[in-house]
Symmetry: C2
Subunit: 357 residues, 2 copies
């Protein structure tokens, strides 16, 4: 199973296609939990970490029963640096968990939808992902996992504050709800900054595809709650869902505007991007994302008849996934750029429907 | 026949393929001639122009006999402005002859290789074209045409000066020998300007694809002699041929240098240009030429396996040819750019050999 996780760009859960995932790419719920009576990871000694690890080892079977799919426990020390970074690129573990340190592992469900980081900043980070805007569903799955663990071991919980976490910003619900959106038209029509500012003003954070500092890349943004105290999980999910619905509406308006103002101009942009992606011999990650975003917009707007899985493309363009693909621990920029160009060509041309251009 | 000339981008003579036309696209000889006893065109009255026209009408049959192909005489007043401009874009007449004025015509051989402008600045401008570097052959054909006319009518000729022409810059041989070269690698490696300066220093002119002011477009240049007095036709042709051979050698060196320095970089550039050309929905003439030049370089360097006739592409990207194609007298920039993009896509995809990319 580890091989599938590391080698395939598309996680099994991403292959569902009963939903329309235009604009909203995915929803994610992450719960921070710590066991009662064991120091937080950064304060604990090796015996504490081992104890947490032992708890979770004993949970594998109950987890399988409640989720109905098998789970694998992967010891991060057994992986190479590149392999660890691939898990980060696939959003299965945090960059924090990828830094070398003993006692750390991740428990991943067969379909890669559920991942539980063990001995990260908190003892547990339970993560559940869904395609499109489905925070409620992701939350239900995370809570089912959470409940089965809590039924066996006590969590550090205060009646006054809620769940106790290593970092005070997570105390309370310990929940981070995140939605990934693709908003190229808002960006092209110059409306994005105003919308981002108003979301931040409501107490939510807006980061780029790969977290802080990656703003603008591929016109993909992650919008998450900041507040974990004084507001229930349900209220947070409801509020964030409303914000996202607002973003979707604005993006749709902007797309309609582009269509009305200069349909051929957008068509030209989309086809050119597709032409470059299917022909370039070298491409940087940043350029690739910009062009892939154009193609996805073209697919959404039915301007271009090609098959592409944007989620897959977001993973295969990443440095570590590329390095893993050719079995290298490190690659020069030029080698990576040509590897990236080849993988993109192969993937897009494989997805080519009969009648092109 | 007029229809074929106006509607098809590729003149029949361009379809020969027994020669390698990399770098040197074509050779052209143009002879300026005036009949004895008739004032130059700009000084002559309508009866003078009619007399010249009558002479040339009587020459059609002898021309056919000597060249072995039929000729058509096209009265320029019978053409629309767009049709006249298409003849200019195909280098069959000069821009001068395309300006509306009575008594002007052009006599064109069935294969469009020979054209004789009647009542341009001079009574006659006899033009002969060849693919590649074949000035000698083009000259022989022009002289055969010239001889058959001279055998029937006397030219204005001075023992001291040679052929007399309306503009003193043509007096003497009355010959303008021109070679069209495609030198993208010299341009990319920054060596072109030095070479152009040295050619000019030798008394030859270097102009862009469409004459003065079009320098750099598609990396195509026309190199021609300036001097028509004190040097024989043979010597001019020999000297110009040597200059061109020097340019070819330098361009080949520059291509080898590009290959050695960064083959993949050139490959990337060439494929990207091809990708854009086969996918864009709107393209300006200038961008199209730059990208077509890249593709031609890729074909020459065997980096890309596609079929393209550069001569054809140089014609189909021109405004008037595009207007004629859709049957319009004038087009807006945007309409023209999208028409150009479509014609380029259709033409390139038609020439697509099985295994692409």
């Amino acid at each position: 199973m580890l091989h599938t996780i590391l080698d395939e760009a598309l996680s099994p859960w991403m292959k569902e296609s009963d939903l329309d995932h235009r604009i909203v790419l995915s929803s994610r719920i992450r719960l921070a939990r710590n066991f009662k009576g064991i120091p937080f990871t950064n304060r604990g000694d090796i015996s504490d970490l081992t104890k947490v690890d032992g708890y979770m080892r004993s949970m594998i079977t109950p987890l399988q029963t409640v989720y109905g799919k098998s789970f694998s426990k992967i010891n991060l020390e057994s992986l190479s640096a590149v392999e660890r970074d691939v898990l980060v690129e696939k959003h299965l573990i945090s960059p924090n968990l990828a830094t070398p340190s003993s006692g750390r592992s991740v428990i991943i469900s067969e379909d890669s939808r559920i991942s539980i980081m063990v001995n990260e900043e908190d003892h547990l980070r339970i993560q559940s992902m869904e395609l499109g805007l489905q925070l409620e569903k992701a939350y239900e799955r995370a809570i089912a996992i959470d409940d089965v663990i809590e039924s066996k071991y006590d969590y550090a919980f205060s009646k006054e504050f809620g769940y106790l976490t290593a970092c005070p910003t997570n105390v309370g619900t310990g929940m981070r709800a995140s939605v990934m959106v693709h908003v190229p038209a808002l960006s092209m029509t110059g409306k994005l900054q105003r919308i981002i500012r108003s979301i931040i003003r409501m107490g939510y954070s807006v980061r780029g595809l790969y977290g802080e500092g990656s703003e603008g890349l591929g016109h993909v943004y992650q919008i998450s709650n900041q507040q974990t105290m004084g507001i229930s999980e349900q209220a947070t999910i409801e509020q964030l869902s409303q914000i996202i619905q607002g973003v979707v509406k604005e993006e749709e308006k902007a797309r309609a505007e582009l269509w009305t103002t200069d349909k051929e101009g957008i068509e030209d942009k989309v086809w050119r991007s597709y032409g470059i992606l299917t022909h370039a011999r070298r491409i940087s990650g940043e350029e690739a994302l910009a062009l892939l975003s154009d193609v996805q917009l073209g697919i959404d707007m039915k301007l271009i008849d090609v098959t592409m899985n944007f989620h897959e493309m977001l993973v295969i363009t990443r440095p570590n996934f590329l390095a893993k693909l050719v079995g290298k621990e490190s690659m020069g920029t030029q080698e990576r750029d040509s590897q990236r160009a080849q993988v993109i060509r192969d993937t897009l041309l494989r997805g080519l429907k009969g009648g092109k251009s």
